[in-house]
């Protein structure tokens, strides 16, 4: 393994992000090649965490753009500060100033509200990490716009003209795969698919994120989750759920799993009614036995 990649993996580890070689390699390549990194994977596998870890690793700001259906330029890029503009207009009215001159004033930089994309390219202190979260939720029109921003790193505000990037930001895009990302955008990025963690990794994640959780508890949760993910569920829990669950169990002063503890805290990792109702009684027993928790406890 290349030294830089090993270093990166260790640095991510030290930050509390348990990185597999795949993730470390992808993050290293994205920073070295200055290309956006497209991260796909099921919910809860820690896609967003990659961007956060990258920002603290590079010692820079994380700027996040959460995508949703109907997201438009005014939320993603910029918006004018209407209140200030109105105020300025009213004051100008008293002075009786020329409208053209007035327009130039109120559409100046100080009346502009920067939204995530614009802030990411105008940051002066160095390149930030721009996280475009759940890009598959935005409509494809926005995707085309994003593609343009990501290729030129400049944006045009009609009233102001073109604004160029001070520093080209590091870009991480995440997608849950609710919709296929357009080919053009995919090709512009490096690609990383994150899977559910292995047992060993999951235990490490729990230990590093929930300091109160002992070796035994983390191991039990890990084993249980691995067994649970093999079942057909509507919403398969990810590492995020394991962390929530571990926290809950620590609050309840549990140092290992048993049937009672699991039944009490089912809602920490099963977040679908049908899944909850199907995982009662016998299934739970089976899971506990399968994961080896029951045998050890009994």
């Amino acid at each position: 393994m290349k030294r830089e990649i090993r270093d990166m993996q260790e640095a991510l580890d030290a930050l509390g992000y348990v990185a597999e070689p795949v993730v470390a390699t992808a993050v290293y390549l994205a920073t070295a090649m200055r290309k956006p990194l497209l991260v796909e994977g099921e919910a809860g596998v820690g896609k967003t965490e990659i961007a956060k870890a990258m920002a603290s690793l590079l010692g820079t700001e994380l700027i996040r753009l959460q995508c949703y259906e109907g997201l438009d330029v005014h939320t993603a890029l910029y918006e004018w500060n209407y209140q200030r503009q109105l105020l300025r207009l009213k004051i100008a009215e008293l002075d009786g100033r020329d409208p053209a001159e007035l327009e130039a004033t109120i559409f100046g930089r100080e009346y502009l509200l920067e939204r995530p994309l614009l802030r990411a390219i105008t940051r002066r202190e160095g390149p930030p990490v721009l996280l475009v979260d759940e890009v598959d939720r935005a409509d494809d029109g926005f995707e085309a716009f994003l593609l343009e921003v990501l290729s030129d790193f400049q944006v045009t505000v009609p009233e102001l003209g073109t604004i160029r990037a001070e520093h080209v930001p590091y870009v991480v895009l995440t997608s849950n795969g609710t919709r296929d990302i357009g080919d053009a955008l995919r090709r512009r990025c490096l690609y990383l698919y994150v899977e559910h963690p292995t047992l060993e990794k999951e235990v490490r994640i729990i230990r590093s994120r929930v300091p109160g959780a002992g070796e035994r508890l983390a191991e039990d949760i890990g084993r249980f989750m691995q067994a649970l993910r093999k079942r057909p569920l509507r919403k398969t829990p990810g590492a995020a759920e394991s962390i929530d669950w571990a926290q809950a169990l620590v609050q309840l002063h549990r140092d290992r799993l048993d049937a009672e503890a699991v039944a009490q805290t089912l809602g920490c990792f099963l977040k679908d009614h049908e899944d909850v109702s199907q995982t009662g009684g016998e299934t739970l027993d089976a899971l506990l036995t399968e994961s080896g928790v029951r045998a050890a406890a009994g």
Partner: protein, 376 residues
């Protein structure tokens, strides 16, 4: 390996991936060529990770990627290091190929222990309720007209779906502060007229591919009626029929009586109600029309019983190409209305992995259920 060797080898590797239908473009190769010098190229696992990241290999193609990597990359590496490593076995699924099962409403992957959701009941009675559930091949002459009306109405509902995106509007909607202010500059900060925005109308692009072979006969007329209704609702709808060949019908499905249209179509389409070559017909569509007609906004609807006389591989290849480009692929199969039917026939089994929604189309109710799928 020198850098030139590396590039040449990379090109061979990408070529081998393409042959196995993994979508790798020149741009991806360039990315990979840029990435490889950044990593330790004598570390097999690292090269593997790097190539997968830089060539943007999707999760679904990982097994193929692993195989090609084992064949080509390991062979090349061993020439210099002389340590011929055994290619790692691709991760194999011991559960065998996924089985599709009919759960009374739609086909889904067979999941042991999972219960099927009960069929949704519509409370209240209407004379149309019975008609809705009556299989198309049992309708009498009077029913036909009523069903056609209901089909047209269901299809028209599609036209009213609105996007969440806001666009300028003259009629009303929420106040557009930005444009209102912009106008106010001219009138000295006095808001004389408010500009407004409303939710944009979602445009629907549809491509309909309809099987007209003998096995589909009782259903064809209603499916065509449905398609004609959809044509009025969609911004763009292309209609094709196929049996042993593909015929574009778009210009023929105008307004007018279905009876006349059907007769006209029958005279146009070769081998109406004959045998079917689904794979070849869809491949023809991909080759001749796909680029112009299918984009990421397009929903492709295929109406067929999947009883293909041709090579399943041809069908799978065509379906893969369509799936890659379209927003969604819906396969309607009238046979699904029959509880005994299992989609294991060669053609259907080959096509299923590339279908987003597999639904029945044997009565009006099943067609109506399709409407939300088309709109979302």
């Amino acid at each position: 390996m020198t850098e030139r060797d590396l590039v040449a080898h990379l090109a061979r590797f990408a070529g081998a991936l393409r042959v196995r239908r993994v979508d790798v473009r020149l741009k991806d190769e360039l990315d990979a060529a840029e990435a490889l010098p950044l990593v330790d190229i004598f570390d097999r696992a690292e090269v593997h990770r790097t190539l997968r990241t830089a060539l943007k290999v999707r999760r679904a193609d990982w097994d193929t990627f692993d195989r090609v990597f084992a064949e080509l990359w390991d062979a090349a590496g061993s020439r210099s290091s002389r340590a011929r490593r055994r290619p790692p076995r691709a991760v194999e699924d011991h559960r065998g190929p996924p089985r599709w099962e009919w759960d009374g409403r739609r086909v889904r992957l067979a999941v042991p222990g999972a219960r099927a959701a009960p069929e949704g009941e519509t409370p209240g009675y209407s004379p149309d309720a019975l008609l809705r559930r009556k299989p198309f091949d049992e309708l009498n002459r009077d029913d036909v007209r009523r069903v056609e009306q209901l089909i047209a109405r269901a299809a028209a509902r599609l036209a009213t779906r609105r996007s969440r995106r806001l666009v300028p509007s003259r009629r009303g909607g929420v106040v557009d502060v930005r444009r209102s202010l912009r106008r106010a500059v001219g009138t000295g900060a006095e808001l004389v007229a408010l500009a407004r925005r409303e939710r944009a109308l979602e445009h629907l692009d549809l491509v309909l591919l309809c099987d007209t072979s003998g096995s589909m006969d009782p259903h064809t007329r209603f499916l065509l009626a449905f398609m004609m209704g959809l044509r009025r609702a969609a911004r763009r709808a292309e209609v094709f029929v196929f049996n042993t060949g593909l015929t574009r019908l778009t210009s023929w499905l105008g307004a007018g009586r279905h009876e006349a249209t059907l007769r006209r179509i029958a005279s146009l389409v070769p081998d109406w109600s004959g045998g079917t070559k689904i794979g070849a017909s869809l491949a023809e569509f991909v080759a001749r029309h796909q680029n112009q007609m299918v984009s990421s906004r397009t929903i492709v609807v295929i109406l067929s019983d999947g009883l293909d006389l041709g090579d399943p591989d041809v069908l799978a290849g065509a379906m893969r190409a369509i799936r890659r480009r379209a927003r969604r692929v819906i396969w309607l199969n009238p046979l699904l209305g029959d509880a005994r039917y299992r989609p294991t026939a060669g053609g259907m089994a080959a096509a299923l992995p590339f279908v987003d929604h597999f639904a029945s189309a044997h009565n009006l109710e099943s067609l109506e259920r399709l409407v939300p799928l088309l709109a979302a």
